[in-house]
Symmetry: C2
Subunit: 324 residues, 2 copies
Amino acid sequence: MGEFDLIARHFTRPVRRAVLGVGDDCALLAPTPGMQLAISSDMLVEGRHFFADVDPEALGHKALAVNLSDLAACGARPLAFTLALSLPRVDDPWLAGFARGMWALADAHGCELIGGDTTQGPLNICITVLGEVPTGQALLRSGARPGDDIYVSSTLGDARLALEALLGHITLPPDLLARARQRLERPTPRVALGLALRGVASSAMDLSDGLLGDLSHILKASGVGAQIDTHSTSNLIAVSAYPESARAQFDPEFIRQCTLAGGDDYELAFTAPPAQRDAVAAASRTSGTPVTRIGTVLAERGLQLVDAQGQPVDNRYASFDHFR
Amino acid sequence: MGEFDLIARHFTRPVRRAVLGVGDDCALLAPTPGMQLAISSDMLVEGRHFFADVDPEALGHKALAVNLSDLAACGARPLAFTLALSLPRVDDPWLAGFARGMWALADAHGCELIGGDTTQGPLNICITVLGEVPTGQALLRSGARPGDDIYVSSTLGDARLALEALLGHITLPPDLLARARQRLERPTPRVALGLALRGVASSAMDLSDGLLGDLSHILKASGVGAQIDTHSTSNLIAVSAYPESARAQFDPEFIRQCTLAGGDDYELAFTAPPAQRDAVAAASRTSGTPVTRIGTVLAERGLQLVDAQGQPVDNRYASFDHFR
């Protein structure tokens, strides 16, 4: 099977929303009047972002999910994406699985594949996603103000928990491993929450490298600091819902590392003024996405961690940096 | 130097046209009313699209050039691009060179870097480019009609000539090698010609895999065939301008292979009705890009090659397929 057969078989469908999809030099998209385009690119590399033996369907899901997560973080509605794929060889069953995972998520969000590239080389997946947001309503990193509440969506740390287990560093009960692995391999982009937070949140971003590292980008962009309650964040890992016996095997320090700097969560971290607490709760309800208040924005720069009693916790949690 | 320093140092500049550039979850772009967006992605892989020891400045140029070439083929004006980069390690002088080549071409076309991704892995460059074109005016592959003239811009085959020399398959005089290598490593996206051909050309595409293979996409999309004069195409390689002594060393068959199926030319192939010959000549003049008429669109499917005397030439010229 050659390059064009591969594209025709796995990656070509008629477009409905776009003017022109796969098959010409460019795709064509007609933007909705009054909307701004939100654009983001993410690249996934074998051995760095996923294991070589990962289920291709999960990988197809994740490659698109991490991009949709960026749109969610801006409060943008997904429109379309391009897929550039470097493959060591044409492996038809693998491609079919990858495409199945990708299309399922794309269809769930009404996001169309409009173009891309395929080439031979080390396995590498680069997706660029396009969404739209009403002019001036995008959720940015720069809007956090002193006194704002800090929230995260859903859970934290499970992806890291699964990674540690898959690397053989820890052992998890099978049901916990299955649940954590699902979070690592099939993250849920919080698109509905992002849309519901337009006009409610003062800033937002998605968590890919770890809560503290990612949050520091909001703080820097907004020129503020923050205090984070590590008791509330430690309760956001799946293991915390397990009986005492399962939980006792984990060092609280390890749990903090997973939840504060675990990476690969693809949850939203966002800020909102206390006056918006009811609106945040409503956004959580309408989007079907739990949110938890984990701290407060401070005027003074820096990131302070406190425990359940409000006592300082030493910040030794390093987030992920691709070149460190 | 970590990931964020790398981005800040080499790949961050204030944007003028975009609403928001590098540094948030998404970039924001405000499309011009009445325009459609043209979008294309191209991925370049070390060892497949370029040699490991290629001049990084040339590589930065080429990575963007092949994407701008897709916009040119649609008659779209470049607006912005995202850059996703997988790097084995942080090599500051290499990155500085790559960035220099990329920015020079981006500035020449008023095309802004608005976002992207950096990660560690085998060297891989994925650029997604966005342009705009007035609604309904994009040059597509599907518009060729029987009787239309077929043209190509500038030269053909020099990139392949350089590749054969760099692979040690042939020896070229130093000045010819330098000239051919320039075409391989620093292709010129024909953006100005693409813009000038709006409303003039009936179809267009850019030549990346070789004239005959790429032209077959136009023929298939338009439901037509074509006759190509291989005498005119053989005259489009740089070597043809050289004295008889330099030219004599090349088998005419080899010259045909380079010009008809060489790949990496990044010239435009386009069709236009004979009534538009003056308009094509004017587009060539205003864009400063030579064009040559090389054949005719036929109602009957298939691609016929003829020599200077109109005699059939056997078509044995295979174009580039990444998976064959």
